[in-house]
C-alpha cells in the first residue's frame, strides 16, 4: 500500500511531463504540417487571413529577456557582492528579506505597477505616442528576475570556502583583486545557473509582459527599435487564447507558440542544472 503510493506519486510526475509535451505537439501538429518550419522566419501574423508567422513574437521575447538581463545581471551581482562582502549581519538579512519581498510580489501586480507608473513615465520622458513597448517589458522583467540572480549569486559567494578567502588575503591580495580573481571565478558556476534560470523566467513571464508590451505583431524596425509596441510569445498566448476556437488553425498556432516556449525554457533550465551538477561531483 505504502509502496504503491510512493511509486504512483513518482510516476505521476513523469506522466505529467510526457502528457504535457505530447498534447502540445498533438494540438500544434496541424500547424506544423500546414506550413512546415517556414513560419519561424516570417513576421506576418494575421489570424483572419491564416497567416501565422512566429518571428515577431520570438524576436520580441528575446529582446525583452535581453534587456532584463542586461540590467539585472550587473545590479544583482553588485547587490550580492555588497551583501556578502561589504555589509554585516543585520543589514545582510535586511537585504535578503528585501529580495524575498520582491520575489514574492505576484507578477500581475508588477503588471499593474508597470501599466500605471512605468508606461506614463516612458511616454512623457521619451515623447512617445504610447508607452507600450519592449523597453517597458524589459525594465519590468529586470525587476522580476533581479531576486533570482541576486539570491543565487549570494549563495554561490557564501559557498566559497574560508580557506580560499584566507589564502587570498595572506597572499596580500587587495579587496578588489580578491573579488575579481578568487571570489567571482569560484562562484561562477552558481552565478551562471542563476543567470540561466533568470533567462528562463524572463522568457516565460506572462502577465506583466502582456500588460505593458502592446501586443502588436511587428518585427522591430530597425532591429534595435525597442520603443514601438511589440509582441512576445507569452503575450500572444495570453491575449489570443480566449478568442481562438478549439481545434482551429489559430488555436493550433498558439499551441505551437506554447510548445516552442516550453522547448526553449526546458533547454535553458537543463543547461543551468547540468553545469552545476558537473561541478559538484
Amino acid at each position: 500500500m505504502l509502496n504503491l503510493w510512493m511509486r504512483t506519486s513518482a510516476l505521476i510526475s513523469l506522466i505529467v511531463v510526457v502528457l504535457m509535451l505530447g498534447f502540445l505537439l498533438q494540438q500544434s501538429w496541424p500547424y506544423w504540417q500546414h506550413d512546415g518550419l517556414s513560419p519561424l522566419l516570417s513576421g506576418d501574423w494575421y489570424p483572419y487571413e491564416h497567416l501565422f508567422g512566429l518571428a515577431a513574437a520570438i524576436i520580441g521575447s528575446f529582446w525583452a529577456a535581453l534587456i532584463a538581463l542586461a540590467i539585472a545581471i550587473p545590479t544583482g551581482l553588485a547587490a550580492a557582492v555588497m551583501s556578502t562582502e561589504i555589509l554585516s549581519g543585520p543589514w545582510r538579512s535586511l537585504m535578503r528579506s528585501g529580495m524575498e519581498l520582491l520575489a514574492g510580489i505576484p507578477s500581475v501586480v508588477y503588471g499593474l505597477l508597470g501599466l500605471w507608473i512605468l508606461l506614463p513615465f516612458l511616454q512623457s520622458n521619451l515623447h512617445l505616442l504610447t508607452g507600450h513597448n519592449l523597453l517597458a517589458a524589459g525594465l519590468l522583467l529586470s525587476i522580476m528576475v533581479l531576486p533570482t540572480i541576486m539570491v543565487m549569486t549570494q549563495d554561490a559567494l557564501c559557498e566559497v570556502s574560508i580557506h580560499q578567502r584566507d589564502t587570498a588575503a595572506s597572499l596580500g591580495m587587495g579587496w578588489s583583486t580578491r573579488l575579481w580573481r578568487v571570489l567571482l571565478p569560484q562562484a561562477w558556476p552558481g552565478i551562471r545557473s542563476g543567470i540561466l534560470l533568470a533567462l528562463g523566467r524572463a522568457l516565460g513571464e506572462t502577465m506583466a509582459v502582456m500588460l505593458v508590451v502592446g501586443s502588436m505583431d511587428r518585427i522591430p524596425d530597425p532591429w534595435y527599435n525597442l520603443l514601438a509596441p511589440a509582441q512576445t510569445l507569452t503575450s500572444r498566448i495570453g491575449r489570443e487564447i480566449g478568442e481562438s476556437a478549439f481545434g482551429s488553425m489559430h488555436f493550433s498556432a498558439l499551441m505551437a507558440c506554447g510548445l516552442l516556449l516550453a522547448l526553449i525554457t526546458i533547454t535553458i533550465s537543463m543547461l543551468a542544472h547540468i553545469r552545476t551538477d558537473k561541478v559538484k561531483t
Binding site: 553588485a78 510580489i105 516556449l261
Partner: protein, 277 residues
Amino acid sequence: MMTERCAKTLITMLALPALLLPAACLLYILFKGIPALDWAMLSGSSQASAFGSITALWPQITGSLLLMLGACLLAAPVALGGTLFYALIANVTQRKALLGIMHLLVGIPPVVYGLCGLIVLVHMLHWGISLLTGMVILAVIILPMLLMNSVNAIERIPGGKTEAARALGLSNGQLIRRVWLPAAWPGLMTGLLLGMARALSETAPILFTATVFSGVAWPDSLFSPVTSLQTHIFYLAQEGANAGAVDIAWASAVILIILVTVLSFGASALRNIRMDG
C-alpha cells in the same frame, strides 16, 4: 586602499536599485491600495453591492483561497509520496531522474501549464472553465517545488537517527511516522506554505481555464468557474477610463500581497524552528 574604496563605491552604486526597489514597490502599492481599501470598506455598508467594495471583493478572495487550498490538497500527497519514493526506494539513477524531471517541470513557464490544462482538462475531459481545472493546473505547477523542498527536509534528518530506527527493526511505515515526520515536519510545512504562496500569485495559467471576471459569489460545484483576486487585478488594471476600477485593482493587489506575505512569514518562522531544533 584607494582602488578598494573606488571598487566598493562602484559596487554600492550598482547595487542601489536592489536596495531601494523592494521598499519603493511595496510602499507605492500600499500608498495606492490602502486608501482604496479604506474607501471600499466605508462604502461597503451603505451600498453593499457597490462595484469593488470590500463586500464585493469577498468572492475574489474566497475564489483565490479555494483554488489555493484545492491545489495544495491535490499536490501535497503526491509530493510526499514522491519524496518517500526518493528517500526509501529509489536507486541513484531513479533519484537523478526524479530530480531531473522536477528541474524540467520548474523550468516550464506557468502559461504553458495553462495551455495544457486547456487542451486536456477543459476540452478533452469536458470539465469546462472550472474551479477543478484551476486546482489541478495549480497543483501541477506547485508540485515540483513541494517535492524538492520535502526532499531537502528529509535529507536534512541526521543519518544516525534513521540508522538507529532501522537497527531497532522499524518498518518503513513506522520509520516515516515515528522518526521522519516528527523530525522533518517544520521543513515539510515550510515547503507547503511556500507552495500556497506560489499558488496564490500565479495568474496566467488560471486566466483562461478557471476564472471569470464577475458574477460568481460562491461556486456551485467543482465544475463552475470562480473569480479570483489575481485575475481581478488583471481585468481592472486595463480599465483606464474608469479611475475607480484601477483603485480597486490596487486594493486587490494589497489584499493579495498581504495574503502572500503572511504565508511567507509563516514559512520563515517555521524555518527558524528547524534551525533551533
